[in-house]
């Protein structure tokens, strides 16, 4: 089984699906000849030709809109928005069109498309290359929202997203493209090759959308995380000597609530973790669901570890990022009562 980093795994998913399905087309800014600024689409144009993999104008609204037209025609567009921070010019097309077309045409037209976009901070990208806008999409009826945290899941989830009959917003945690991140920014980057989830099966396989993964079993508390924060949470558990159950949500919509409920009822404590700002973040939804389903099993208030409600500040990146210190404080708090 080959060992891939997340970029190679995503690239491989494209190759598998473009070979299997002649209706898959890939476009976005710099994705063609060059293969994308993060190299996810490298080699695709050479292998599959210029009319299936091509560069798009710097027009996220136009990229999403023309993908809508192509999906209406019968193609399966897999488009790249170069940074999640750039997705807003396409937001009207995503919210009013992509998400609603199945509904408003009573399923005569559907939108089987994938909108891939790197998100999150920790790369000194400043406020326009670091945002985590997932809750702006989880709020929209008609969209599915997927966030992988390992090369294995990245490939399997992207294949599942391309095969899905509904539109999927596919957020890629760019901080962990090249290696998992424990939250200690001053330590050297560990490559994916040392992580078991870098073993990626060849060819076609899927990781189901709507299914979370228990990435660490434990009895002290349940930690709900996704993307980069899965690895930050796992490291914090070890550093604080806790026996926590860590759930990688993998899909935010539709959410795997059964897995969450089962775990929280077992542990009686819950910590919700994301990099996005706190107010109206997806964590708020998770806390509400946990208290609705597990209130009488809870031994302490559900805590949140999040980014701050500020823009992502360049020089203060590590004061913003929900790293080991914020994790430690929250873990102590949720375990204290």
């Amino acid at each position: 089984m080959p060992t891939f980093n997340m970029i190679q795994a995503l690239n491989d998913a494209h190759k598998v699906m473009m070979a299997r399905d002649p209706d898959v087309v890939v476009f976005g800014e710099d994705v063609g000849y060059f293969g994308g600024v993060f190299r996810v689409t490298e080699g695709l144009q050479k292998q599959f030709g210029k009319t299936r993999v091509f560069d798009a104008p710097i027009s996220e609204g136009g990229i999403v809109a023309t993908a809508v037209g192509m999906a209406t025609y019968g193609l399966k567009p897999v488009i790249e928005i170069q940074f999640a921070d750039y997705i807003y010019p396409g937001y009207d097309q995503i919210v009013s069109e992509v998400a609603k077309i199945r509904y408003r045409t009573a399923a005569e037209w559907t939108m089987p498309m994938v909108i891939r976009t790197p998100y999150g901070g920790g790369i000194f990208g400043g406020q326009t290359h670091s945002q985590s806008p997932e809750s702006l999409f989880t709020h929209i009826a008609g969209l599915k929202v997927v966030i992988p945290s390992t090369p294995h899941d990245a490939k399997g989830l992207l294949i599942a997203a391309i095969e899905d009959p509904d539109p999927v917003i596919f957020f890629e945690p760019k901080r962990i493209y090249n290696g998992p991140f424990d939250g200690h920014h001053d330590k050297p980057v560990r490559p994916w090759s040392k992580h078991p989830a870098s073993e990626v099966p060849e060819g076609h396989y899927t990781v189901p959308i709507g299914k979370a993964a228990v990435v660490r079993e434990g009895g002290d508390l349940t930690i709900l995380a996704y993307g980069t924060m899965v690895h930050v949470a796992l490291a914090a558990v070890e550093e604080n000597g806790l026996d926590a159950e860590v759930i990688d949500l993998r899909t935010l919509v539709p959410l795997d609530l059964d897995t969450i409920e089962e775990s929280v009822k077992k542990t009686g404590r819950c910590l919700v973790v994301h990099e996005a700002p706190r107010t109206s973040g997806f964590g708020g939804e998770l806390v509400a669901l946990v208290q609705e389903r597990c209130f009488y099993h809870l031994e302490a208030p559900v805590e949140r570890v999040t980014g701050w409600d500020t823009p992502y500040p360049h020089a203060y990146e590590w004061a913003y990022f929900p790293g080991p210190k914020r994790m430690k404080r929250a873990l102590e708090k949720v375990m204290a009562e």
Partner: protein, 422 residues
């Protein structure tokens, strides 16, 4: 002290903000005598494979075919046979009668909303005639003529307007936001101009697959101000897309005249120049000119010579919708003063002038169209009108959000059904 204190720079000339105003407001006497209207037949017709620049003089001209004597004149005369002309006339008359009946139905409380296209009937019906039935349209809310010209059942349209049991969109969409895949009519969006770049995307798909069908996108003059207009033009130009991009300039966006969308500076057709694509400016009340221009752009697209932006110059003779009263912002008699006339009267006069029509046949046809519309209305109302809807099958509102109903929607559906819609 603040940045907006003009005293800070009192020795420099004060700047002025220009806010466009239409020529006439309520109480004024509309006078269009200074409007530049080139004579019918005066516009040259470039070869459909000509470089885009050859069309650019036409972006400030006006392609017109029907002359003062009601005969077809000049290089744009599409030389249509009388049957085709009569079919176009019939479609236009049907659209107008349909609009009147549905406008009245809204006033009678049978539905919530309606939008007429009075004065603009030639544009959609002649465009439909010029394209193949397999070609795709991404319309706005004022192209009901496309459906009617393509023979779409009037009862289907009315059932949608009533959101009743026969509504194929299951009561989810505002009246007139039709959608039909088989008839090549994409779902209308209330978010304006979204469909314009989508049309480009559909045509890109057709080109990727080596199809022979083309696509026509539609937008109003007001919505050309949206970023989506620019996206559509950019993508169409970059990939030389086989698409026809139509701007229906009816001069009014609810209460804002076309100057608020930039018409004081350039024609809408002139926008083609900056993108380097073909552009035509066409008398939208001249069915033959509309037909000829769409046919020209279609030939150009089908032979891989690229996209065309067409401005159909017309006048919105009535309110924006049933929710609008234009007497609040323009003279009530402005439509009558509009010098390019009524498209139905002009095509009728042409058929009379060439000896292919008479008043008796016209009256007979009008009665037939009226009966057809009335019969469809009767039929559709059997399936209900809006005030009776939204009470049965409440669970259906949770269908088609996704291909499969996820758990959270299933839970909400159970609750909604239990509430019973109250």
């Amino acid at each position: 002290m603040s940045d907006k204190d003009p005293d800070l720079r009192r020795n420099a000339p004060h700047l002025e903000l220009h806010v466009p105003e239409p020529a006439f407001r309520p109480g004024d006497t509309p006078d269009f005598s200074s409007l530049y209207i080139p004579a019918a037949g005066s516009a040259p017709r470039p070869d459909t494979a000509a470089p885009a620049a050859e069309t650019h003089p036409l972006t400030t001209a006006l392609v017109r075919v029907l002359g003062e004597d009601n005969k077809a004149v000049g290089p744009w005369d599409p030389k249509l046979d009388a049957d085709t002309l009569r079919k176009m006339l019939r479609d236009m008359v049907t659209v107008r009668i349909f609009d009147d009946r549905m406008y009245r139905a809204q006033r009678q409380g049978k539905t919530s909303f309606y939008m007429k296209c009075t004065g603009e009937e030639a544009i959609a019906t002649a465009a439909a005639a010029a394209l193949s039935a397999e070609d795709m349209h991404f319309p706005t809310y004022r192209q009901q003529g496309l459906l009617i010209a393509r023979g779409y059942p009037l009862t289907e349209m009315m059932c949608q307007i009533y959101s009743n049991k026969g509504d194929k969109l299951r009561g989810r969409q505002l009246p007139i936001m039709y959608s039909d895949k088989k008839y090549g009519f994409f779902s209308i969006s209330g978010n304006l101009a979204t469909q314009f770049p989508q049309a480009v995307g559909w045509a890109m798909g057709a080109a990727i697959k080596g199809d022979s069908r083309i696509c026509m996108g539609w937008v109003g003059d007001g919505a050309t101000a949206e970023g989506d207009f620019h996206s559509a033009m950019t993508f169409a130009a970059v990939y030389d897309v086989p698409v026809i991009l139509a701007t229906v300039n009816n001069q009014w966006a609810i209460s804002s005249f076309s100057g608020i969308a930039g018409a004081e500076r350039a024609t809408f057709a002139q926008r083609a120049v900056g993108y380097g694509i073909a552009g035509l400016r066409v008398d939208g009340n001249d069915a033959l000119a509309v037909y000829a221009s769409v046919k020209w752009a279609a030939e150009r697209a089908r032979s891989n010579h690229g996209p065309t932006l067409i401005e159909f110059f017309t006048y919105r003779a009535e309110g924006h919708s049933t929710s609008d009263d234009p007497s609040g912002y323009r003279p009530t008699n402005e439509a009558k003063a509009w010098p390019l006339g009524d498209p139905i009267e002009r095509l009728k006069a042409h058929l009379l002038a060439i000896g292919e029509w008479d008043d008796e046949r016209h009256s007979k046809m009008t009665v037939e169209c009226d009966e057809q519309v009335r019969a469809a209305q009767k039929e559709s109302e059997k399936l209900g009108i809006l005030p009776q809807q939204g009470k049965d099958d409440i669970g259906s509102m949770f269908d088609d959000v996704y291909a499969e109903v996820p758990w959270h929607l299933a839970e909400q559906r159970d609750q909604a059904v239990a509430e019973g819609g109250e």
